[in-house]
Structure formats: structure tokens, C-alpha cells
Amino acid sequence: MIYLFFGYVVIWTILFLYLVFLMRSQKQVNDKLKALSETLDQQD
């Protein structure tokens, strides 16, 4: 069972890192959208 436990911990860690990556990229998109919106407002 110990091998299965560590195997699944490794799989979960990979999935978790992907989740962190998704979260970071969405934050960057969010920031860029804010900056874009502000630039468009200044142009108007």
C-alpha cells in the first residue's frame, strides 16, 4: 500500500502544480485586462 500511497501523492502533486499554474496565469490575465481597460479609458 505504501507504494500506491506515494504513487498517488506524486500524481496529485503534478495535478496540484498544474492548478497553481492555471491560477497564476488567470491572475496575469486579470491584471492585463485591468491595465487595458484603464488605457482605453484614458484614450476616451
Binding site: M1, L4, F5, Y8, F16, M23, N30, L33, L40, D41
Partner: protein
């Protein structure tokens, strides 16, 4: 920054923050759940080690019900308030719910084959009603992607989501209403399990719930970002 975009930005940021806060507890909860399922819980006398899949099977099953309740809630709230944020909630919950139901329908046969000697007992009401639940919400996703953006789409999807939720109580009570080979583990007098098994199940359900909420929050933030980008393109 114009007001609607400003609000959307703030809400998306809030969703991302909630998801961010839940990440570290989620990681450790899931590791503890794995420890509980593989090392802490005792081996079941009759089924052996294959029974350990139970801790994940039940955890994801509970969360597919929770996610579909989110669809129901989002649909009802959208029809009352006509606020787009409720539609975002419903759409995000459907996606997460379908993933969790797929996991239920995958872990079930893996458990069933060595115990019932069949991958898929066609006559079992619990399995068939769960399959119908999965098909209902896959149909919801197909409906959603086929309709053009606008009030009509959100209204149809809200109604579909509410009607689809009627299958959730049927899935839950199917093992009590009809003859089935699915065991009734949780009864009104409690769970018929060893205390260690209950602990492992409890942690697994909590970990899966945190995962479900995190995924819904992330998906809602993605949807808001996408609609903000659309709004900026058309402005």
C-alpha cells in the same frame, strides 16, 4: 476604468483570491486523504484492498451532487435576479460536476469488476440513474455551446439545470427505493463502518469538497475574465 468592468475585475480577483487561499490546505488535505485511504484505514475483511477505492468513489459522488446543487441554485437565482454572475456559477458548477460524475462512473466499475464480477451491471438503479445524471449535464454543456450568447441562452440553461437537478434525489434514494446490489452504507442510524474507515472517508470527502470549490472558483474567474475581454473588444 468603466464601472461594469471594474466590478467584474474585482469579483474575478475575489474568486482567484479564495481559490488561492484554499490551495495550501487543499494540498495537505488531499495527502492526508490518501494516507487515510491507503495506510490508516484497515483492509476490508471480504473485499480486500480494492475496497479502498470507496474513499474516493464516495468523496467524488458527494461532490458531484454538491456541484449540481450549485447549478440548481445558480439557475433559480438567475431566473429571479437576471444577473449574469449566477449564470457563471451554474455554468462553472456543471463543468466541475460533469468531471466529478465521470470520476464516479470510472471508479465504480474498477471496484465492481473484482467484487460483482462485472464492470457494469445494467440493471442496477444507482448506476443507471447516475449515468442518466451524467448524460443530462453533458446535454446541458452541448446546449450551452450551441446557443448564441444572450438572455435566451442563459434562461434556457437555467431551466435545463433546474430540471436536471431532479435526478440528484433520485440517484440518492435509488438504493432505498429499488432492489439494488449497491450497499446502503450510510443509514439514519449512522455509517456501518469501522471508526478508522469513517475517519478516512470524512477526510476524503472534505478534501474533495475543497477541490470542488477551488475548481468552481477558478472556473468562475476564468469566465469573468473572458467576458471582460469580450466587453473590451466590443467597446
Amino acid at each position: 476604468m468603466s464601472s461594469p468592468i471594474n466590478t467584474s475585475w474585482r469579483v474575478a480577483r475575489l474568486y482567484l483570491r479564495i481559490a488561492d487561499w484554499s490551495l495550501i490546505p487543499l494540498y495537505f488535505l488531499m495527502v492526508v486523504a490518501l494516507y487515510g485511504a491507503f495506510l490508516y484505514a484497515p483492509t476490508e475483511r471480504e473485499m480486500g484492498d480494492v475496497q479502498r477505492i470507496f474513499y474516493f468513489h464516495v468523496g467524488v459522488a458527494w461532490n458531484c451532487f454538491l456541484a449540481f446543487f450549485g447549478v440548481f441554485l445558480g439557475g433559480v437565482a438567475y431566473l429571479i435576479t437576471r444577473k449574469r454572475s449566477w449564470d457563471h456559477l451554474a455554468a462553472s458548477c456543471v463543468e466541475v460536476g460533469v468531471v466529478f460524475t465521470t470520476m464516479v462512473l470510472t471508479t465504480g466499475p474498477i471496484w465492481a469488476k473484482p467484487i460483482w464480477n462485472t464492470w457494469w451491471p445494467w440493471g442496477d438503479p444507482r448506476i443507471m440513474t447516475t449515468m442518466v445524471l451524467w448524460l443530462i449535464y453533458v446535454a446541458y454543456l452541448m446546449l450551452r455551446s450551441s446557443l448564441p450568447e444572450g438572455e435566451t441562452k442563459y434562461k434556457y440553461c437555467a431551466v435545463f439545470g433546474i430540471i436536471g437537478f431532479l435526478d440528484v434525489p433520485i440517484v440518492w434514494f435509488s438504493i432505498r427505493w429499488w432492489r439494488t446490489i449497491h450497499p446502503v452504507v450510510i443509514t439514519s442510524s449512522g455509517a456501518e463502518l469501522e471508526p478508522e474507515m469513517i475517519h478516512a472517508l470524512f477526510v476524503s470527502v472534505i478534501a474533495m469538497t475543497v477541490l470542488c470549490v477551488t475548481l468552481v472558483m477558478l472556473r468562475m474567474a476564468m469566465r469573468l475574465n473572458s467576458s471582460m475581454a469580450e466587453e473590451l473588444t466590443h467597446s
